[in-house]
C-alpha cells in the first residue's frame, strides 16, 4: 500500500496533490486517523482480496474522474473497495462501523454530470458495487427482472436479446455503461412508457448499516412468488427511503420490463421560435395527462441538440453566450427547430392509426411541424431520440461535454415545476440571465414527465481551465439559489450541491431525515452528505 498522507498536513492545508498523477484532496474523514485508515484498508483486503481495495493515488485515479465542478478539491474519495457478494458487503459495513470509515456506494459509477465516483464530503471510500453484476431472475410472462447493482443496461439488454425474450428495457441517455439499480436509486428517468424508473421498480434487498438484510414489499415472505409482482407488501412502503438517501446499501432490485409492442412510431415536432416552448407545454400536457401519449414529452432546445454533435467553435466565435441568431442558423442548417419535441406512440398499427390523427390535430394548432421517419430519415438527432424512446442503447450524449472544448465539464441543473406553459417564460429568462452572466450557453430541455415539468439545463464548461471550473461552480450555485427563491427546486443534484438543495426543502424535512439517519446509521458510515443528509 502506498497511501502516504500526513493527516495534520491535509487538515491544515485543506487539500494536497500527491504523486504527480493529478489526484488531489485526499482528505481523511474527521472520524478516522491515518492509522485507523490503514487498519481499514488491511481489514477490507482480508474480505475482498488485495486486488479489490484501492487506496494509493495511482490505483485510485479512475475514481477521481468527474465532470462536475470541484474547484476546491473536496469530493475525491480516499479509497475504494469492491465487494462481489452480499456477505462481503455485510463484512465491509462491519469494518466501517468499527473504524467509523464512511463508505459512498455506487452501482456502476456513471452518474455523469452528478459526480460519478466522487462523494459529497471528503474522506469517503467508494463502495464500488460493479462486481456484483448478476442477473438473478427474468420472468418473461410477468415482464419482471431481479438484478444486482453492477448490472448495466447493456448487460440486461444483451441477456434479453440472446434469450429471445420480447421485453424492452428503459434507458437513461447513457444506457450502455449505467446501471438500472443506480439510476433508479437516484430517481433517474428514461424515454419509453416505463420511463419513471422508481414507478417501475418492484422490491429491493437492502443491507442496513448494522448488517441486517431488509427485503422490501413481499420480499420478506417465505415462499412468495410476488416479490417482483406487488410493490407494496404490508405496512409502510420502504422502497422510497432508499432512493436519494444513505440509509442502506441496495444489493438487489426488482424491475418491471415493458413487453415489446407490435408497433412503435417515433415523432418529432419542430417549432421555429424560442418563445414557442410555453404553447408546446400547453399543447402536450393534456395529451400526456390523458396518456394518449404514453412516454415523456421531451422538448429539446436547439442549442442542446447542436451541442451533442458539434463543437461550440463550429457555430460561434463571439464573446459571451452563443446568440439565439447563431443557434437558429445552425439549427436550420441541420433540420432542427429552436424547440424539437420528441414523443412516440406504442401499440398495434391499428391503435397507433387511431391515436395519431388526434395528436396531430392538437399539435398542428400550436404551429409545430409534425415529423416522422418519413421526413427525418438520416437526421442524427431524430435517430438518437427514436433510439432512446424504444429503450435503445447509445452514448451519443457524452458528446455534450466536448461542446466547450476537450476539457470535459458538465453539471446538470434540473428544477421542477408544474407542467404549465407559463412556467417556461420565467425559467428560460432566468436561466439565460444567470448563464449569460458567466458566459455559458443555454443548452437546455424541458420534459413533461406526467403532470410535472422538468427543466433540464446542461451547464457545459471547460474543466481543463481552473478559472472556468470556478465560474461553473459559482454559476450552478447561483442557479440553485435564485430558482429556489421562485419555488423552482431541483429533483436531483450533483455531489457539490446536495447540501445546498436540501436546505431549500426546509428544516423540518432535513430534521426528519437526520432523525432517520441517526436511528438507522448511528455511526454515520453510509454516504454522509448524500442529499444533504449527514
Amino acid at each position: 500500500m502506498s497511501f502516504n498522507l500526513d493527516r495534520r498536513e491535509v487538515l491544515t492545508a485543506g487539500a494536497i496533490g500527491v504523486l504527480g498523477t493529478g489526484v488531489q484532496a485526499a482528505r481523511l474523514a474527521p472520524s478516522i486517523s491515518k492509522a485507523g485508515f490503514a487498519a481499514v484498508v488491511k481489514a477490507m483486503q482480508a474480505v475482498v482480496g488485495a486486488d479489490w481495495v484501492f487506496a494509493d493515488p495511482d490505483s485510485l485515479h479512475p475514481y477521481t474522474k468527474s465532470y462536475v465542478p470541484d474547484p476546491h478539491h473536496a469530493h475525491a474519495p480516499v479509497g475504494a473497495v469492491c465487494p462481489e457478494t452480499v456477505e462481503q458487503v455485510q463484512a465491509l459495513l462491519k469494518i466501517a462501523n468499527q473504524y467509523k470509515q464512511p463508505l459512498w456506494p455506487v452501482s456502476t459509477g456513471k452518474n455523469m454530470g452528478y459526480g460519478m465516483t466522487t462523494a459529497a464530503t471528503p474522506g469517503q471510500m467508494i463502495l464500488d458495487l460493479k462486481r456484483m453484476n448478476r442477473i438473478l431472475e427474468v420472468d418473461p410472462d410477468l415482464g419482471t427482472a431481479l438484478i444486482e447493482p453492477g448490472v448495466t443496461y447493456q448487460q440486461l439488454s444483451d441477456y434479453l436479446a440472446e434469450n429471445n425474450i420480447p421485453l424492452w428495457i428503459d434507458v437513461p441517455t447513457i444506457g450502455p455503461i449505467a446501471s438500472p439499480v443506480g439510476n433508479t436509486l437516484d430517481r433517474g428517468v428514461g424515454y419509453t412508457p416505463y420511463g419513471d424508473h422508481l414507478t417501475f421498480q418492484c422490491g429491493m434487498e437492502v443491507v442496513l448499516p448494522n448488517g441486517e438484510i431488509l427485503r422490501t414489499g413481499m420480499g420478506s415472505i417465505k415462499g412468495t412468488n410476488a416479490w417482483q409482482a406487488f410493490k407494496y407488501g404490508y405496512g409502510p412502503v420502504h422502497d422510497g427511503l432508499f432512493t436519494q438517501s444513505n440509509f442502506g446499501v441496495v444489493t438487489k432490485m426488482g424491475l418491471w420490463l415493458m413487453p415489446k409492442p407490435p408497433a412503435y412510431k417515433p415523432f418529432m415536432i419542430r417549432h421555429p421560435e424560442m418563445g414557442d416552448v410555453g404553447k408546446i407545454v400547453e399543447t402536450m400536457r393534456p395529451l400526456r395527462v390523458a396518456s394518449l401519449i404514453p412516454n415523456v414529452n421531451l422538448m429539446m432546445s436547439a442549442a442542446y441538440q447542436l451541442a451533442m454533435f458539434n463543437r461550440r467553435s463550429d457555430v460561434w466565435s463571439g464573446e459571451g453566450s452563443i446568440s439565439d441568431e447563431a443557434v437558429k442558423k445552425a439549427a436550420k442548417a441541420n433540420g432542427l427547430g429552436m424547440w424539437n419535441t420528441y414523443f412516440a406512440l406504442y401499440g398495434t398499427e391499428q391503435s397507433i392509426a387511431a391515436i395519431e390523427p388526434i395528436v396531430r390535430g392538437a399539435i398542428g394548432a400550436s404551429g409545430g411541424e409534425v415529423l416522422t421517419e418519413a421526413e427525418m430519415s438520416g437526421n442524427p438527432w431524430f435517430h438518437h431520440h427514436a433510439t432512446l424512446m424504444r429503450g435503445g442503447l447509445s452514448l451519443e450524449e457524452i458528446g455534450l461535454v466536448r461542446w466547450k472544448g476537450n476539457g470535459g465539464g458538465l453539471a446538470w441543473f434540473a428544477p421542477v415545476a408544474a407542467a404549465k406553459g407559463s412556467e417556461t417564460v420565467g425559467q428560460t429568462a432566468l436561466a439565460k440571465e444567470i448563464l449569460g452572466k458567466y458566459g455559458f450557453d443555454y443548452t437546455a430541455a424541458y420534459a413533461i414527465g406526467w403532470r410535472e415539468l422538468h427543466h433540464i439545463i446542461a451547464l457545459l464548461y471547460d474543466k481543463s481551465d481552473p478559472a472556468e471550473e470556478l465560474k461553473a461552480d459559482q454559476c450552478y450555485r447561483e442557479m440553485v439559489v435564485r430558482f429556489g427563491e421562485k419555488g423552482w427546486a431541483s429533483y436531483r443534484t450533483g455531489v457539490p450541491s446536495m447540501a445546498l438543495v436540501s436546505q431549500q426543502y426546509g428544516q423540518v424535512n432535513r430534521d426528519f431525515n437526520k432523525t432517520l439517519k441517526h436511528a438507522i446509521d448511528p455511526n454515520h458510515i453510509i454516504a454522509p452528505g448524500k442529499s444533504g443528509i449527514v
Binding site: P62, A80, R134, P176, E396, R402
Partner: protein, 107 residues
Amino acid sequence: MRLGSSLVAIGMLAGATAASASQALGHTQAARPPEKIYAVTCGYCHGTNVGPIILGRHLPPASILFMTRNGRNAMPAFRPTEISNAELEKLAAWISASAANPKEQGK
C-alpha cells in the same frame, strides 16, 4: 452520413452479441473478448460522432491503457471493476493492431 455511422455501431453491437455467450442467470459476467468490449463500450463514442477514431491508428497499447483508466479530458475513466486488468490488456492490444473501419465516423 451520421445516421449511417450510428447504424454501423448497432450492426457491430449485434454482431458482437451474437458471437458471445449469454450471461448465465445468477452468475457474474464472465471475461469478455476485446471485440465485445469495444462494441459495448468504446465503439459507442469512438466511431459514432462523439470521440476520435481509435481503430487503425496503431495507438500504443500503453496509451490506450492509460486513457481508459484515467479518462483524459472529456472521456470517462473506466475502473478495473468495469473492464478488468486482464480484459484491458487484450483490448489495448486488439485496438492497437486493428485496421481502420471506414464506416466509423469520428469526431
